[in-house]
């Protein structure tokens, strides 16, 4: 089982983009920490990026986080992007059908350009 000690979440400002970078597993236990960082990031910058590169696993709690963040960005007219994570994380994106609803990038810097694939 994932120990909370194995989980960390960092937040930084990078070229006007607030980057939230969790490390470890995002699940029922760790999601609240990521949620509060995302909320803080929204207060910091109009562009928020969730960097999933160091996330090893994500369950439906993570999906809920992403949906929340995207809906909040849509409501505020801000932008939200996700840096793709490893295969298991990407698989969850697929299953949840989120690839069409979220802005997926490979680097936090790409989010600043505001590219967003077409919605399905």
């Amino acid at each position: 089982m994932d120990d909370d000690e194995d989980f960390r979440v960092g937040r930084r400002l990078e070229d006007g983009v607030a980057v939230v970078a969790p490390e470890g597993d995002i699940d029922l236990r760790t999601a609240p920490a990521v949620r509060s960082e995302l909320e803080a990031a929204r207060g910091e910058a109009a562009c928020v990026v969730l960097d999933l590169r160091l996330v090893e696993f994500m369950d439906s709690s993570g999906i809920r986080l992403l949906v929340e963040a995207q809906l909040a960005a849509d409501r505020d007219g801000a932008s939200f992007a996700v840096v793709r994570g490893p295969a298991p994380v990407q698989r969850l994106f697929e299953l949840a059908g989120l690839d069409g609803r979220l802005t997926l990038v490979d680097e936090p810097a790409q989010a600043a350009s505001g590219e967003r694939p077409d919605e399905h």
Binding site: M1, D2, D27, L28, R29, F57, D59, S60, S61, I63, R64, V67, E68, Q70, L71, P88, R91, E94, L95, A96, G97, L98, G100, R101
Partner: protein
């Protein structure tokens, strides 16, 4: 010889007067005619002298009178006649009588003087004059009446100190100064004291040399012309407080005899009393006296040890602390007996030895840290904590002479500290588990041996029997014995006394020094009584375990091997523990109840039983997450719709009552939509709109399969909404089927598309929630690959479910965070096979949308 007598001047006067009378009478005799012989008349002279002086002077005068009488023929010219002989005889006899008179008179006079001296000393003793006056008066009384030089040496701090010196005569000042300068110890070295009176009839040159510490002193002593000495030990209230030294010198020319020594002994008693009454001794020991007075008032226990380790002083606090009535009782008790009265331990639990005590250390010249000692009084069983500190008192050579011990009783502080730590640990233990029996067992173990030698916890069962849920003792054999005892003679809440009584009335019990009669009165069976006696109980406490609903159990604490008794503070601690345990057990019970409610609620979210669906067989699996109180969000259903049976597996993200409510809503919305619309995608879209309209974000994932049986074939329309795709097992091979779609509840405009496939007989379609693939094992997550492997070769719905269950059981480690739902569909009805319809595109097999 002999003592208290007139001064030499008066003695000389008596002699002179006697001799003058003899001479006068002789002169008269010569002057008178020869026939007028008065040569016998000098006989009156010795009598006269006897009245004025002592026997010695009387004898001189008598001899002179006799000589005058014998020589009288020279001038009377009557030598040799009978008359002459008669006169000589008369003078001789008269002289002898005069001597007897003188002796008798001297004796009476001596006795009178001695009596007066004793009265005078007694008067001093009774009068309680100021200390300085006492010594002056005592000296005045003793010198020159009893001695030429008198000295008072008083013991202080095991040393003699010269308190007073009295001499007489023209050289009195010189003699007194010289004697005062001498160290009494020199005298003691020459004349060792044995506590008895010493009489030195003759002080010879050898002794004088021994008495002198150097040549100067020897010259001084020689100048005194010492003759004899008496050293009288001064006693008062059973102890020797000093010595009275009486000396005769050539001044009086007297020597002491046994008679005088005996008188001196009586006198010594009075002098001792006088000194004691005058408070002289305590004045001499003034520093000690003041210190003693100060120490006596201290709350801290103070003792003073001499170099041999024996106690020479203790204040009342020390006496009380060590269990004695007063300091005298303590001081008269041998040190080993004091130590043996207690079972003592150092703070690390080692038994205390005498050498561990700081007093011994400082006397040995070592450094001594304050030492914490836990002592259990063997007789009373009382437990005390003491901090012992020791400071050395150094002698003039810098070696430790005494050790002053300050013993601080820190029992209250220690108890509070222990109670706090104990309760903190107990609190942690009580919070650590929700299994009441396990929790209570751990609390009981925590209480042993800190609070008691035994700790047992009893809870009543439904029928009122006391169930011993915990018994703790350091020795497992004893625990076994106690358990056997309980099994053999179980208690019922209706029983008299003991835990049953406490359970009924909620009143704690505390019995110290349990008398055997109590055991005998409580227990009648001989074997049971014997077992009970074998426990060697000394004290027992029974406290109620109180919860909001009242008393739910009883905790029993027994002191046996440690021999300690319980204090009111112990009882308070035990009661506190009882309350905490009661609350914890109640919480645990509430949790169990909630957990039960949660399970009931969960069951309510799932169909009571899977319905009979024509042509297919269904099997399901539901595994709740490790945390049983939280209701999981997984659900499954089988719904009959106008277009066929709809199979649903869903998962609401989140847990708890909110998730449960959402799960209920999701399940019922889907059921209603499915029944009305008969189309899986439409049903999901309906649910999506319903969830999107809720105020807060409510999302779920769902996999819906519509089974359409069109006689010849059975098709399955599969829609996945953010949900793991179902697994198709066909001919032993397992693979995922269906297209992925968006989660439900996030975007109201979302749409879903079904994937249709034709089910062949024997085909298995396994729907599941992410609890399966997300379950945690030693090698990470279970994952989709393991699921496919587990399902490969499955031939029936039941088998598929059983395989998943077995695979998860083998894989999972620890409590699972998420619940797991599986619904397996098996196509059983023999149907005509339609070639090429496998994995048909949705358009070809009656698409709904």
């Amino acid at each position: 010889m002999s003592t208290s007598a007139p001064a030499p001047s008066s003695r000389h006067a008596a002699t002179a007067a006697g001799l003058a009378v003899v001479a006068l009478l002789c002169g008269l005799d010569i002057a008178l005619a020869d026939d007028q012989v008065i040569s016998a008349t000098p006989v009156i002279a010795p009598f006269l002298t006897a009245l004025l002086g002592r026997p010695r002077e009387t004898a001189i005068v008598a001899a002179a009178a006799l000589a005058a009488c014998v020589l009288s023929p020279i001038w009377n010219d009557n030598f040799g006649g009978v008359d002459y002989l008669v006169r000589v005889l008369v003078v001789l006899t008269g002289g002898v009588f005069a001597l007897i008179v003188a002796r008798t008179r001297e004796r009476l006079d001596l006795d009178r003087r001695r009596f007066l001296l004793l009265s005078a000393v007694a008067e001093v003793a009774d009068g309680r004059p100021a200390p300085g006056e006492t010594t002056t008066r005592l000296s005045d009384l003793l010198v020159p009446g009893l001695a030429d030089i008198a000295m008072l040496d008083v013991r202080r701090d095991e040393r003699l100190e010269r308190l007073a010196v009295a001499a007489h005569g023209p050289e009195a000042d010189r003699i007194e100064a010289g004697m005062r300068a001498r160290d009494p110890a020199a005298r003691v070295r020459a004349l060792p004291e044995q506590g008895a009176l010493q009489l030195v009839e003759r002080i010879d040159e050898e002794l004088t040399r021994a008495l002198a510490e150097d040549d100067e002193e020897l010259a001084f002593l020689r100048s005194l012309g010492l003759r004899s000495a008496i050293v009288v030990p001064l006693r008062t209230r059973g102890r020797i407080i000093g010595s009275l030294v009486l000396l005769t010198t050539h001044q009086s020319g007297r020597d002491y005899d046994a008679d005088t020594a005996e008188f001196a002994r009586v006198l010594g008693g009075r002098v001792g009393l006088a000194l004691d009454n005058a408070g002289l001794v305590s004045e001499l020991e003034s520093l000690e006296a003041q210190t003693t007075a100060a120490l006596g008032n201290l709350a801290e226990a103070v003792t003073v040890q001499s170099r041999d380790g024996g106690l020479i002083y203790a204040n009342d606090a020390a006496a009380r602390a060590l269990g004695f009535a007063d300091a005298d009782e303590l001081l008269s008790t041998p040190p080993q007996d004091i130590v043996d009265a207690y079972e003592s331990f150092l703070s690390d639990g080692r038994p205390l030895t005498l050498t561990d005590l700081p007093g011994r250390k400082v006397l040995a010249g070592e450094e001594a840290e304050p030492t914490l000692v836990r002592a259990i009084h063997r007789a009373t069983g009382e437990e005390r904590w003491r901090v012992v500190k020791a400071t050395p008192v150094l002698d003039h050579e810098g070696r430790p002479r005494l050790a002053v011990n300050v013993i601080e009783d820190v029992t209250e502080v220690k108890r509070a500290e222990h109670a706090q730590r104990f309760l903190a640990e107990a609190g942690a233990v009580l919070a650590s588990s929700l299994d009441p029996d396990e929790t209570l067992a751990r609390v009981a173990e925590l209480a042993v041996p800190r609070l008691a030698d035994w700790c047992a916890v009893a809870l009543p069962d439904e029928r009122g029997w006391l169930r011993q849920v915990a018994v703790a003792h350091p020795d497992p054999d004893r625990v076994r014995m106690a358990r056997e005892y309980q099994e053999r003679w179980p208690s019922h809440v209706t029983d008299e006394g003991g835990a049953a009584q406490v359970l009924r009335d909620g009143q704690s019990q505390l019995i110290n020094d349990i008398p055997d009669e109590l055991l005998a009165a409580t227990v009648t069976e001989p074997e049971r009584l014997a077992l009970l006696r074998e426990l060697g109980m000394r004290a027992v406490m029974i406290v109620p375990m109180v919860a909001s609903g009242g008393v739910i159990g009883a905790m029993t604490f027994v002191s046996a091997e440690s021999r300690r008794t319980f204090t009111p503070a112990d009882l308070e601690l035990a009661e506190d523990l009882g309350r905490r345990a009661g609350t914890a057990i109640e919480t645990a019970r509430l949790y169990t109840e909630r957990s039960h409610i949660a399970r009931t609620l969960q069951v309510g979210l799932l169909p009571d039983a899977l319905p009979d669906v024509p042509g297919v067989r269904l099997a399901s699996l539901y595994r709740p997450a490790g945390d049983e109180v939280l209701v999981g969000g997984d659900f499954y259903d089988a719904i009959e719709t106008p277009s066929g049976w709809m199979i649903v597996v869903g998962d609401v993200t989140g847990r708890g009552t909110e998730a449960a409510a959402l799960t209920g809503q999701a399940r019922h919305t889907l059921r209603t939509a499915a029944t009305l619309l008969g189309d899986p995608a439409a049903a999901i879209e309906q649910l999506n709109r319903a969830l999107s309209q809720r105020g807060e974000l409510a999302i779920c994932t769902v996999a819906v399969v519509l089974l359409r049986d069109s006689g010849a074939t059975t098709t399955a329309q599969i829609v996945c909404a953010g949900h793991p795709p179902p697994v198709l097992v066909r001919g032993g091979g397992a693979r995922q089927v269906g297209d992925s779609g968006l989660v439900v509840g996030a975007w109201p405009d979302a749409v879903w598309h079904p994937r249709t496939l034709v089910l062949e007989p024997g085909d298995l379609l396994v729907l599941h929630t992410d609890g399966v693939i997300d379950s945690v094992g030693a090698d990470g997550r279970f994952g989709e690959e393991r699921l496919l492997q587990a399902l490969s070769g499955a031939t029936s719905a039941e088998e598929a479910v059983a395989r998943i269950r077995a695979a998860l059981d083998a894989f999972e480690v620890g409590e699972q965070a998420d619940d797991t739902a599986v619904l397996a569909v098996e196509r059983v009805q023999a149907a005509r096979r339609v070639p090429g319809t496998e994995d048909a595109p949705s358009g070809r097999t009656s698409p709904v949308k």
